[in-house]
Symmetry: C2
Subunit: 258 residues, 2 copies
């Protein structure tokens, strides 16, 4: 296990779940860094490790630095982070950030992208998380694959360009899908109905695309352009212009792509 | 089993799955009606029953007529359908059509709304389908509940107004969600990536809202308004104005509702 001593840079959802999972596989998490004291302490406590809010105090003796930060922050922090750690491997976990962000700064670097949605309040089964890895060269690649392989059986290589496309597509499949659930919840609440009634439908909608292409799985008023129903729905949404506009635009998009 | 002799009016996805499920519970499906010969014959063959494309030839001796048609067609067809069948129960299966559509035409009537997404090419597990029923009075209500109860353990009463809200919310939770999957598929195809890689993320996104409210489950660039990522994604979508517009509008909606 070459990359066994880990420092986590960041204390958000990804850092939290990845940190816990790495500990479970036997990795030694040495320290947590976050700019905000509260976040750093919270994650450090969860993992029973030390924390710091100072870049200068990041321990130089880890074999792997895992950076899970907002993209803009990551870029700013790199030059100082890599200083004095010539043999370590540096990875970030971001979907849309090219690996080249490390070039000219670190000697050994790569990307460890877990394509999953992480919320602090929900446990994640890492055996179902697809990991996409990329590295500066064969040696680092093998070490990262070995590390990711301890977390999940689903590890693949992806170039920065492929990862960028995956991340964009994942925003549709996950974040936008979840927002459809959220708008559904808002509509149900307005009419005093519980969100739970929708769960069988939500589950079946997800299960269907294991078998049918999403395009073939489409049902409902938009795909058959049932003007009667669409008209009623739009007028029901007259008091919610945000939902009304999205209803109209998404329905038109469904019909165009039928 | 009071409503044991059934005629199906319509031969689309809902009629097909409901017809098969009713037969399995021991109902005697007498006949299938559809305006189009091919659809009528196809479903009739699946169920090994007779079919007709003529309203006059619909058998008058069923105890239950289940109408699963587009809303506009349903309204037109009612006067002729009910003629000469004074003791039968008439139901439709539509989410957005009020029960009152039967009033003044039939003596006994109601609604049997299965809130699920039905595609011909996929089998449906009815034990996971929530049914919402409504009826002209207590006697019909009990008979419809008994019938629905044979298909699913999840049977509730809902007024026409509640059903209308459920249907609207279901369009967001199912049809619009599925369209997010379809747009995801389109983006992946463009970059030569298989849709299958998204399934763990799609599944986890659905599972999360069993535990967290959708609003709490949200992750990704929009909810934290990561302009860096959002800007990259919008420029990646420059060649696909439809996806680009939806990306922008849905992201703004996520951020406003964070």
């Amino acid at each position: 296990m070459a990359l066994n001593k880990v420092v986590l840079i960041g204390a958000g959802n990804v850092a939290t779940h990845l940190g816990k999972a790495l500990q479970k596989t036997g990795c030694d998490v040495l320290q947590v860094y976050s700019r905000t004291k509260a976040s750093a302490s919270e994650l450090a406590e969860t993992l029973s490790v030390a924390s710091t809010t100072s870049l200068e105090e990041i321990r130089p003796d880890a074999s792997l630095y895992v950076v899970a930060l907002k993209d803009a922050v990551l870029q700013q922090l790199i030059p100082q982070l890599v200083k004095g750690k010539p043999d370590a491997v540096f990875v970030h976990t971001a979907g849309s950030m090219p690996m080249q962000v490390w070039e000219g700064h670190a000697r050994r670097y790569g990307v460890l992208y877990p394509m999953q949605t992480f919320s602090k309040r929900r446990e994640v089964d890492f055996s179902e998380v697809p990991f996409f890895v990329e590295a500066d060269g064969e040696e680092t690649l093998q070490e990262l694959k070995e590390l990711a392989g301890r977390l999940s059986p689903n590890v693949r290589e992806a170039t920065s360009e492929q990862r960028r496309s995956l991340h964009l597509a994942a925003v549709f499949a996950c974040n936008f899908t979840n927002h459809m659930y959220a708008l559904c919840d808002r509509l149900l609440q307005k009419h005093g109905l519980p969100f739970e009634v929708m769960l069988p439908l939500i589950d079946e909608t997800a299960r269907k695309v294991h078998e049918l292409k999403p395009h073939e799985a489409q049902t409902g008023p938009a795909v058959r352009y049932d003007e009667n129903v669409i008209g009623k729905h739009l007028s029901l949404l007259a008091d919610d212009p945000e939902c009304q506009e999205l209803y109209e635009k998404i329905s038109k998009s469904i019909y165009r792509n039928r």
